[in-house]
């Protein structure tokens, strides 16, 4: 069953220097319980995609298209109804644990809020549940920690506290925005374990936004590769890692340390740049004359969805 269905999503920001289009014609389905990874370099629009789903973008954002969660189109939903979805239907595990917790509020209180709101718990019950959740997520002396403020916690503990917050409303979809950004290998492994644990506990689907292919490989059923605001390839995890079809995906895999760290030459185009043809044209090794001006649709090549005229 399809949990979340995104159709022709476009997200643009009005800025002084013109319109920045961060997401272009995104089509994406997430099944119940499925883990989908969105891969791409910094600035490719993957975090904006996540925030578009939750409608947590700044005021200058304009989102068009359709985001269907179960039977509701989130884009036409009222603020009130959208708040029910946030936390209750779709949870967020935010980027950068060090700044994502309120510095002036006790950890326990920050977890309780969601419990009171979505699970209609009383204060004392929510308090106990918050401690239980922290314990479950591997925090020792959870009772004491719940009485502490964020600055008294280590980075890993903050991440666990945020993980607890993200599942307080028993969401059916969890959006994890770069959960391993800037972490060392050991902590990264712990976060991967944490995400597995969250999934096992809640049975929720997971939309994992990351630039780390290894992390995506460990967790995801399906991988979506984004480039300059567009989805350029989408397939089952093993399929994409073993037989990438798009030249960008191939380049991405070759730039991994174990593949010899061969970089892709050039830089991705600015998101405000209007390009009539393929957005990867300037950096592509197999480009042809047609790629320059012809709009490239997503098409099925060997079972993968690929946005390339000459993919094999």
């Amino acid at each position: 069953m399809t949990l979340l269905s995104i159709k022709n999503l476009n997200t643009a920001f009005k800025t002084r220097n013109g319109e920045v289009q961060a997401c272009r014609n995104i089509d994406l389905d997430i099944e119940v319980g499925q883990t989908v990874g969105i891969i791409g370099e910094t600035g490719c629009g993957k975090s904006v995609l996540g925030m578009s789903i939750l409608k947590l973008l700044p005021y200058n954002a304009r989102v068009t298209g359709e985001i269907r969660y179960l039977e509701q189109n989130l884009l036409t939903l009222s603020d009130q109804a959208m708040r029910e979805i946030r936390g209750g239907g779709i949870g967020l595990l935010p980027q950068s644990p060090s700044t994502s917790l309120n510095p002036a509020m006790k950890i326990g209180t920050q977890i309780e809020e969601g419990l009171v709101l979505h699970r209609k718990m009383g204060k004392p019950a929510a308090k106990q549940k918050a401690v239980d959740m922290l314990t479950f997520l591997g925090i020792k002396k959870a009772k004491k920690v719940s009485e502490q403020f964020p600055h008294q916690l280590s980075g890993g503990m903050k991440q666990r506290a945020l993980a607890a917050i993200s599942i307080t409303g028993e969401p059916r979809l969890l959006i994890a925005d770069e959960p391993t950004k800037g972490l060392d290998a050991i902590v990264k492994t712990q976060v991967v374990e944490l995400l597995k644990q969250l999934k096992a506990e809640t049975g929720a689907a997971l939309l994992l936004i990351t630039h780390d292919l290894k992390v995506a490989e460990c967790l995801c059923d399906k991988i979506v590769v984004m480039y300059s605001g567009e989805i350029i390839e989408m397939a089952a995890t093993q399929k994409i890692l073993k037989k990438p079809a798009h030249p960008y995906t191939k380049g991405l895999l070759q730039s991994l340390p174990e593949a010899g760290m061969t970089p892709i030459p050039g830089q991705s185009p600015s998101l405000s740049q209007v390009i009539s043809g393929c957005r990867f044209y300037d950096r592509c090794e197999i480009r042809q004359a047609a790629c320059r001006y012809q709009r490239v649709p997503l098409s099925v090549v060997n079972g993968s969805q690929v946005r390339c005229l000459y993919a094999d």
Partner: protein
């Protein structure tokens, strides 16, 4: 905690010493012969004799070097004797204590007025950024800050006292007498506080933890009051503290306009009369209040920002 407060109180002594030296020097550096000015204040400028001036010079010790005069004053002050007014001959401390309540009343009324206007206005402007409401609030705040309070005071008197007759023109008495001076003094403060509240709120509302709060599905009201306001208050409290200090300066002008019998008016009158015993005591009082307010603000941080702890755990 207590040790910290003790330390701050020790610093207070140094500040006080500095302030007294400064006012003493300035008073003596002011143009005109001090003994003569005092004589004029006491007996009037007409038929003033040299003998009278010299008598004052001797009796008030103005003939000794300034250093000696200062230490003379200082030793008396430490034993609680602030001396007598050079004009009325009344003890200075008594005069100040009589007038202090009037100034405190006016200052706190003005602060209250400014906060009641500024905090809601700033919060609303921030939560509805780029709306008409926001622009209106910010323009009024700009006007509030820019208008000098002696002018605003006169305008308010013209409108509310002379034309409408709602409030008395000047004087001291019940609540009705307080409205215009408090409004005059509070308006300028409100402007600054509104702008600060807005920018502080906006900064906080852009923080990651507010996004986290939103992602929980909390209502905008809860996000603003439970999550943002407390964090936004830290810079606001600092500025309110500093403002309270400046309020005392503001009372000097506003008390003069509205003939409000407070310390500010006393200070102005004493400066004109070169009643340096009174000036000295008033300046001292302002300094002490200023430092104490700053201390109170720093202690308030404890309750707002859990990261600050003044004691070693």
């Amino acid at each position: 905690m207590y040790r910290y407060i003790g330390k701050r109180l020790c610093l207070l002594l140094i500040v006080i010493l500095g302030v007294t030296v400064l006012t003493f020097t300035l008073m003596h550096a002011a143009p005109g012969d001090m003994a003569e000015m005092i004589a004029i204040s006491r007996y009037g400028a007409e038929n003033l004799t040299t003998a009278e001036v010299e008598a004052i010079r001797l009796s008030e010790g103005l003939d000794s070097p300034v250093m000696v005069q200062y230490f003379h004053w200082l030793t008396h002050m430490i034993s609680g004797d602030f001396g007598n007014s050079l004009i009325t001959g009344e003890p200075v401390l008594e005069e100040i204590l009589i007038r202090l309540p009037a100034t405190l009343k006016l200052s706190f009324a003005a602060l209250l007025v400014s906060l009641v206007i500024a905090i809601p206005a700033g919060v609303i402007a921030a939560s509805k950024q780029h709306s008409l409401m926001d622009y209106l609030t910010m323009s009024s705040a700009l006007i509030g800050t820019s208008v000098p309070n002696f002018w605003l005071g006169l305008l308010l008197i013209l409108l509310f006292s002379v034309t409408l007759g709602w409030f008395p023109v000047f004087g001291y008495g019940g609540l009705r007498y307080m409205v215009l001076p408090a409004l005059t003094l509070g308006a300028g403060l409100a402007g600054i506080t509104t702008r600060l509240t807005r920018s502080s709120m906006l900064e906080v509302l852009n923080q990651d933890y507010v996004t986290t709060a939103r992602s929980k599905g909390l209502s905008e009201r809860r996000i603003i009051f439970k999550h943002a306001l407390k964090n936004a208050f830290i810079p606001i409290i600092t500025v309110i503290g500093i403002q309270l200090g400046h309020l005392l300066g503001g009372t000097v002008i506003v008390e003069s306009i509205f003939a409000w019998p407070g310390i500010g008016k006393l200070l102005v009158d004493s400066i004109y009369a070169r009643d340096f015993a009174t000036v000295q005591a008033c300046a001292l009082l302002f300094a002490i209040i200023f430092v104490l307010i700053n201390l109170i603000v720093d202690v308030l941080y404890l309750f707002l920002n859990p990261k600050i702890s003044y004691q070693k755990e």
